[in-house]
């Protein structure tokens, strides 16, 4: 598939902000069955000092420094991305999960895709014994790892209620888990916490999901959204596989990856500090349009 993506983020401040420095992670990345054909980032106010780079995890970053007073910050990303992912392995033929646990511990690499990087609790995906116990029910002894992970994903889809009003960026997963509700970010963090609780490497992915409008209706402009899901490590050879617990989907060509990391904090689209009084208003618009 080839997609055209447009992602607009606009902040309006009630009072002028004299100085801002921030880190953006909005440009999509290459790799794992995905190729970025073109991409562009435009920023208002113009004249901001801009520094493009690649972070440890291989995500594309942009540092912005705006050293003059401004009342608006507008970030518009447009890109064309080709997605052709290899088929996922047959679940029953993957390694036993206990073996995968031991293999991850023996990893001899600190590379960004090394399973060792994703074994431990992180700030937004901490170890929660209740979540580990919840995950364990899908992981009886010697079950193939991918089969068990798929079942865990399906259970989250079935047993949790999608509710954008229920949680915020800062809601601890403990709360979302206890109430069995949340959004894609919560579900991804919960699934990651469950897998890691068992000793399995799991990563966080941010990106987009192609939405198909109901039959007979036109796609609504700007109505798509950013999305988040999980990658689980299934051992050498089969490697990392994407799992989307919000939709109970094995990630294939409908998912477009922006960034990957240990949890949301590693891929947060905009981090930063601004100095100034006043409040801010945020507006986000996303379009994901399949071209071919």
């Amino acid at each position: 598939m080839i997609y055209d993506i447009r992602h607009l983020t606009a902040y309006a401040y009630s009072r002028p902000v004299p100085f801002a420095r921030c880190m953006l992670r909005v440009l999509p990345r290459d790799g794992a069955g995905q190729r970025v054909l073109t991409s562009k980032l435009s920023v208002t106010p113009r004249g901001a000092e801009r520094n493009d780079g690649i972070c440890f995890f291989g995500n594309r970053t942009t540092t912005l420094t705006i050293a003059r007073p401004h009342r608006e910050l507008r970030i518009e990303m447009t890109s064309r991305v080709e997605v052709t992912r290899p088929a996922a392995p047959f679940p029953a033929l993957t390694r036993q999960w206990e073996e995968v646990v031991e293999l991850a511990l023996k990893a001899q690499s600190l590379a960004p895709d090394s399973p060792a990087q994703y074994l431990y609790p992180s700030r937004l995906a901490p170890t929660v014994p209740e979540i580990t116990d919840y995950a364990r029910r899908s992981f009886p002894a010697r079950r193939p790892v991918f089969e068990a992970a798929c079942e865990l994903m399906a259970r989250i889809r079935k047993e949790f209620r999608y509710d954008p009003e229920a949680t915020e960026v800062a809601t601890p997963i403990r709360e979302a888990f206890a109430a069995r509700h949340g959004v894609c970010q919560d579900f991804a963090h919960i699934m990651i916490a469950g897998l890691r609780g068992l000793g399995l490497p799991a990563a966080y992915v941010s990106g987009y999901l192609r939405t198909i409008p109901p039959p007979g209706q036109a796609r609504l402009e700007g109505a798509d959204a950013t999305h988040a899901w999980v990658m689980a490590w299934t051992g050498p050879g089969t490697g990392w596989i994407g799992l989307d617990p919000t939709n109970d989907l094995i990630v294939a060509d409908d998912h477009i990856v922006t960034a990957t990391g240990r949890d949301y904090a590693d891929v947060s689209p905009l981090d930063g500090v601004l100095v100034g009084p006043g409040s801010q208003k945020l507006d986000v618009k996303v379009d994901v349009i399949p071209v071919i």
Binding site: R21, C22, F57, Q108, P121, R123, D271
Partner: protein, 841 residues
């Protein structure tokens, strides 16, 4: 030092010695530093025992008193972790608990310790270089990647960055086992604390027993700090680098130590907000603009150093610091990421790594450690669980497992099973370790010595001549006799550490030789934050003074209740109203006695304008710039807070309250005296004085507005003269009672009266003119422009035309000047709510 109390006979000395040692028996199964198992005294302690036995118990107590007074006078303090009162952070500071007996070690033994610590520093530095660099140890299988990635101090963004993880200072916590061998208990590579406390312990004990240092040839500490400083200088690109000590701030456990070391080493003490990254360079914000920082000795965790690339939740760091480090424009020491190697998970690998990296055996072994992320090691720990201690493999992040070391032998059956399950399921989070049995050393307890367990922190610094180890250290002694663990939380004392030599030791001081000292008069630059705090210190002090004068004037009139002068009642009403308008007393519920209002204005912390609240604010402001205040000045804050604390029991009488206000005013006068007579007339003093002058000008205007009206009774004007301390001047000039125009002239316009608004304005004009200017276009900066305008207005004004409106005009100009000074010289928006760091998403 006088030799008094020492001329005693051998018999008496032996008796004293026996008394000191009467209860001293080594604990079973532990090594004792002072006494061998057969009860003989180890030879290196003999001169020490001889000295103590030569002193009468009164003299010994007097010597202890000298040491304790040194501790108190220098304000050595620390904060107990998790014991913080947000409203009054200074309340949780503890005086330093000093053990008066030193730890004595022979030079011979020290050689092994020093060699072992230097070797370990070298080893850890090399391993860190590999983790953040080529990763050969990981690829080769000597170190599993998963033993590193669990640490919150493993900083991925500095992977491959020059100097990442590089050690400049290292500390090892040592303990001595029952067989007399020293063991490494912990590695400190993040930002080791304690070196400054070691220095302070030395100064305190040195004051009490100066002769012993000579007779016992105790090794000096100064050379170590010299070496450390030289090591930092050598890392910088510029010849005379600006070195900053980056502190997490005054709420940190060891803030005192940081302020102390900054002063001792001549570094600039800065907080994250003092530094700014622009165009790849790091600068200090000073009153004279940005000044480049070359080296940053950080005492904050690496993770907190840069909210942009590291922990986004950090408000302590410098946004963009990692970028500047990457560009090699600033050196951060220890290198960002150095904390990763503190993880207990790595301890078990050290013997093997020493062979692999250095080709040597470890001189000092570390306690046997098994990381349960490996199947074989996990098996060993589970098999021998009951005889082990189990700890988190990595520093807890606060969100994860409940951290802390447990002695499995102390757990009940149920707890052991829970632990066993945890280790089985996620072994990678745990290590098992041999239970440590520490050695004991003497502490004074009720006039005699008793053995207590201790640990010893030893420091190594990277100098241009290689690793240099401090001959001494930071020794912590437990108050309990359980020799299995010491934590520096509560109930721990600290001892000086003496490394004795057979020969007299060389004297080194940090002072350069006299012929090489370039003459300087005004030293260094003033960071904006320090200027800000000095300014507000001045304002708060002046504000407390005004409140106290108000209270005193009010109570004085209340006490004279039979005064029948016209306007007496009216004056009291106006003074009481002013207290409310000031925020010093609650808006009066009907019938609340005026005396109660006055008491609120003195003691009530809840009233932001009360004297007690202003003094507390002043002290809080001062505590952030403690390294710039003299010990005497600092002590006055304690005095003031004591004086203004509400006495327990029934409320103070009007007379007592009057006395309290009077005493507190004297303490404030003492502070003014100190700052006038003892502070160098540099920029720091100037900002303190500008703060005072602005506040005094503003309060005088407010007093004047409140008491002048065309029909103001003489009694009201009298109160105004009291409040502005101008009563005597007025009487010497005018024979008649207080009347409007002469009073107004004296209080507002007379440039010869040091309490008048005009006098403040003249001083402000001169001081602001002396501040650095950033403009090179010949234009006036805003503070200067306003000060000139004020001076012109006050010089040309006439008393006959002054009314409430024109007084308000002066007041507003002064407030405008205050804002202009803040805007130009301080950190943006640093008042009233502090600079706001907003996370956007």
């Amino acid at each position: 030092m006088a030799l008094q109390g020492r001329s005693s006979s051998t018999r008496v000395r032996n008796e004293r010695r026996n008394a000191l040692l009467s209860g001293y028996r080594p604990l079973p199964g532990a090594y004792d530093e002072l006494m061998a198992a057969d009860g003989t005294i180890r030879p290196q302690w003999e001169p020490f025992l001889a000295e103590w036995s030569a002193l009468t118990s009164d003299e010994l107590q007097r010597r202890f008193g000298l040491a304790d007074r040194h501790v108190r006078d220098t304000g050595v303090s620390y904060r107990v972790h998790g014991d913080l009162d947000e409203n009054d952070p200074l309340a949780s500071e503890r005086a330093w608990p000093l053990n008066h007996a030193p730890l004595v070690l022979t030079g011979q033994e020290w050689k092994t310790i020093a060699a072992g610590v230097a070797q370990r520093a070298q080893l850890l530095d090399s391993v860190l270089g590999d983790i953040y660099g080529p990763g050969r140890l990981i690829a080769g299988g000597a170190l599993p990647a998963a033993a590193i990635t669990g640490s919150p101090d493993y900083l991925r963004p500095v992977q491959g960055v020059t100097g990442a993880g590089q050690l400049q200072i290292y500390a090892a916590d040592l303990g001595r086992g029952p067989d007399g061998r020293w063991w490494v208990l912990n590695d400190r590579t993040q930002a080791p604390s304690g070196a400054g406390y070691a220095l302070e312990n030395r100064l305190a004990i040195g004051r009490a027993f100066p002769d012993l240092f000579r007779t016992m040839n105790v090794e000096r500490l100064a050379a170590f700090f010299q070496g450390f400083r030289a090591g930092l200088v050598a890392r910088a690109k510029r010849v005379e680098p600006r070195i900053c000590l980056l502190t997490p701030g005054q709420l940190n456990e060891s803030y005192f130590e940081q302020a102390y070391l900054a002063r001792y080493l001549g570094f600039l003490l800065v907080e994250g907000g003092d530094l700014v990254m622009r165009d790849g360079l790091v600068h200090v914000r000073t009153i004279a603009g940005f000044k480049r920082a070359d080296v940053i000795w950080r005492r904050i965790d690496g993770d907190f150093a840069d909210p942009l690339e590291l922990n986004a939740r950090s408000a302590l760091g410098v946004p963009g610091l990692v970028e500047a480090v990457r560009a090699e424009n600033v050196v951060v020491a220890n290198g960002l990421g150095s904390g990763v190697i503190e993880a207990r998970a790595l301890m078990g690998f050290m013997p093997k790594l020493a062979r692999e990296v250095l080709g040597e055996e470890l001189i000092l072994p570390n306690i046997a450690t098994w990381w349960c992320g490996q199947p074989r090691e996990r098996g060993i720990v589970l098999d021998r669980l009951n005889e082990m201690s189990v700890s988190p493999a990595f520093r807890a992040t606060g969100d994860g497992l409940d951290g802390g070391t447990v002695l499995v032998a102390d757990l009940d059956r149920n707890e052991r099973e829970v632990l066993r399950t945890r280790i089985t399921e996620r072994g990678l989070d745990h290590v098992g370790q041999e239970v440590v049995r520490l050695s004991t050393m003497p502490v004074m307890q009720g006039g005699r010595l008793e053995p207590r367990p201790m640990t010893l922190r030893v420091f190594a610094a990277a100098t241009p001549d290689g690793w240099q180890v401090m001959p001494g250290g930071f020794c912590r002694v437990s108050d309990e006799s359980d020799a299995r663990a010491v934590t520096m939380r509560s109930g721990v004392r600290s001892s000086d550490v003496w490394v004795t030599s057979d020969q007299p030791v060389e004297q080194v001081t940090l002072l350069p030789s006299p012929d090489r000292i370039p003459i300087r008069r005004i030293v260094g630059i003033l960071p904006s934050r320090a200027a800000d705090n000095l300014f507000w210190l001045g304002r708060y002090l002046e504000r407390s003074e005004a409140t106290l004068r108000l209270v005193r004037a009010l109570l004085g009139r209340l006490i004279n209740a039979d005064d029948q002068a016209p306007g007496h009642a009216e004056t009291i009403k106006r003074l009481a109203n002013l207290l409310v308008a000031w925020g010093a007393a609650p808006a009066t519920p009907k019938g609340r006695p005026i005396a109660a209002q006055a008491r609120s204005a003195l003691h009530d912390i809840e009233q932001y304008g009360s004297a007690a609240a202003s003094v507390r604010e002043a002290r809080r402001t001062a505590s952030v710039i403690r390294e710039r205040l003299s010990v005497d000045a600092w002590r006055l804050f304690g005095d003031l807070q004591r004086q203004l604390a509400a006495p327990p029991g029934k409320p103070t009488s009007e007379g007592e309250a009057f006395e309290i206000a009077d005493t507190a005013l004297k303490s404030l006068a003492a502070f003014s005296g100190l700052s006038q007579e003892n502070m160098v007339r540099g920029a720091g003093w100037r900002f303190l004085d500008i703060g005072r002058r602005i506040e005094r000008g503003v309060t005088t205007c407010r007093f004047a507005r409140h008491f002048i009206e065309n029909d103001a009774p003489g009694n009201c004007l009298d109160a105004l003269l009291d409040l502005t301390d101008s009563q005597i001047t007025y009487r010497s000039r005018y024979m008649l009672g207080a009347s409007l125009q002469p009073v107004l002239d004296l209080v507002m316009l007379d440039p010869y009266n040091p309490r008048s608004v005009a006098f403040q304005v003249e001083q402000l004009d001169a001081e602001i003119a002396a501040l650095p200017s950033l403009n090179d276009d010949g234009m006036l900066e805003e503070p200067r422009r306003l000060a000139l305008k004020l001076a012109a207005e006050s010089r040309t004004a006439e008393a006959s035309r002054l009314d409430r409106t024109s007084v308000l005009f002066f007041e507003q100009l002064l407030m405008g000047l205050s804002n202009a000074v803040a805007e130009r010289y301080f950190l943006q928006n640093s008042r009233p709510e502090g600079s706001r760091m907003t996370r956007l998403a």
